[in-house]
């Protein structure tokens, strides 16, 4: 017996369903946010990283208000299960992101998980972290048109300077 048509249709719903219940979904995301604040770069399934991204950025916005703010402290207390990370959030991460107006995280997709489920994985990291960069910027090869023209210009300039 279909109890309500509204429950079956999900047009415009933005929150994904995780875990056993809405409480369990928040607990799952809370664990991920704690891990992100502790390690500053984590690998998780893509959907969880996407969902967690919004919460992590809003938590940093709250932290920017300062630790004297009652509401900011309560939010940090709920979202970070390991209490030593509250200090790190307010004293390290909030000053680091103070000049930036938003988008404190970077999310990139990585090859599917090796296990049986072949889940779509992503790596999510806080910008400005001390770990080696994820993306190494590759220089263009010497054989591209622009680089060849520049090389020719440099050689002409050297010949003109020599003569």
């Amino acid at each position: 017996m279909r109890l309500s048509v509204a429950a079956a249709i999900s047009h415009g719903r933005v929150y994904r369903r995780f875990g056993l219940s809405p409480r369990s979904r928040l607990d799952l995301l809370r664990n991920l946010v704690t891990a992100l604040v502790r390690h500053e770069r984590i690998e998780t399934p893509w959907a969880r990283a996407d969902e967690m991204r919004g919460y992590a950025e809003r938590l940093i916005d709250y932290a920017k208000r300062g630790d004297k703010d009652e509401r900011a402290m309560r939010m940090a207390d709920f979202w970070l299960t390991e209490k030593d990370l509250i200090h790190k959030l307010f004293k390290v991460l909030a000053p680091r992101f103070q000049p930036h107006p938003g988008s404190y995280t970077r999310m990139l997709q990585i090859p599917n998980r090796d296990g049986l489920d072949r889940a779509k994985m992503a790596v999510i990291e806080l910008k400005g972290n001390p770990l080696p960069p994820l993306v190494r910027p590759r220089r263009d090869s010497d054989k591209t048109l622009l680089n060849q023209l520049l090389k020719g210009y440099r050689q002409d300039a050297q010949r003109a300077a020599a003569s």
């Binding site: 415009g12 933005v14 809405p22 409480r23 928040l26 809003r58 938590l59 709250y62 309560r74 939010m75």
Partner: protein, 246 residues
């Protein structure tokens, strides 16, 4: 007054009156009608901009006063079947819904022991006048529980005179705790999802605690559900004040 040395006491001029100029203070905290604030969604802002222009156009012609949920209004609408072509209804505003041009408000009154609720659209051209008879706020944004309250809380005299109030005063909050009819009610108002502060619950303690089973304490920490309207409100206030001064 007894003087210490026999001479008449020295004339003390009365203290100068302190003039608190509230008009300049109140300019910034002007009331913004809730139907101007666009809802959260993926619609283009152009739609809300066009709607706001139409709303401002209507407001220039017809005055929609500032009113809140819980105050008593009298509305005259055009009625082709009435003898003098207009009908007047007085009632307490229990709900303000909708955004944009479809914004509505529901007035409730009890007439000859029959509860009557009429839902009016703020921007409908059939409305000829809206008068605020008593401006006050209540503890909740939604007074639908008055349907299950004793009828004395919803009865208002149809020929009530408007209560005079000064322009610069704060809107008074009526902290009345309403007494309810015996259960069953139309909704289970004791449950925490309605978050009602204006009812005097006379239910036994175990029933109140059983209702707390449906509380969702994690909702207050769910940050993505918060909708911060302060910047949007500022922009809309500026736009409104510019347009209405023209």
């Amino acid at each position: 007054r007894v003087s210490s040395d026999g001479k008449p006491p020295k004339f003390q001029p009365p203290p100068k009156p302190v003039i608190i100029d509230r008009k300049t203070q109140k300019e910034e905290m002007r009331f913004l009608s809730p139907e101007f604030i666009p809802p959260r969604g993926r619609t283009t802002p152009l739609k809300y901009y066009i709607e706001r222009k139409d709303m401002i156009q209507r407001r220039k012609v017809f005055n929609i006063p500032e009113f809140y949920v819980g105050d008593v209004l009298a509305v005259t609408t055009a009625n082709p079947y009435a003898s003098d072509k207009s009908s007047r209804f007085v009632g307490i505003c229990i709900q303000r819904g909708g955004k944009g041009l479809g914004a509505t408000f529901v007035l409730r009154n009890v007439i000859e022991d029959q509860g009557v609720e009429i839902c009016y659209e703020l921007y409908s051209p059939r409305i000829q006048a809206i008068e605020v008879l008593k401006l006050e706020k209540r503890l909740d944004e939604n007074l639908m529980y008055l349907r299950d309250a004793l009828p004395e809380y919803s009865t208002f005299d149809v020929n009530m005179k408007p209560v005079p109030r000064m322009d610069h005063e704060e809107v008074p909050v009526n902290k009345v705790q309403v007494r309810m009819k015996p259960k069953p009610w139309s909704k289970r108002w004791e449950r925490p999802k309605y978050n009602i502060k204006g009812i005097k619950f006379e239910l036994p303690e175990h029933k109140m605690q059983a209702a707390q089973k449906w509380s969702q304490p994690w909702l207050e920490f769910d940050m993505l559900r918060e909708y911060d309207t302060s910047k949007i409100e500022e922009k809309i206030r500026k736009e409104l004040s510019e347009e209405l001064e023209k």
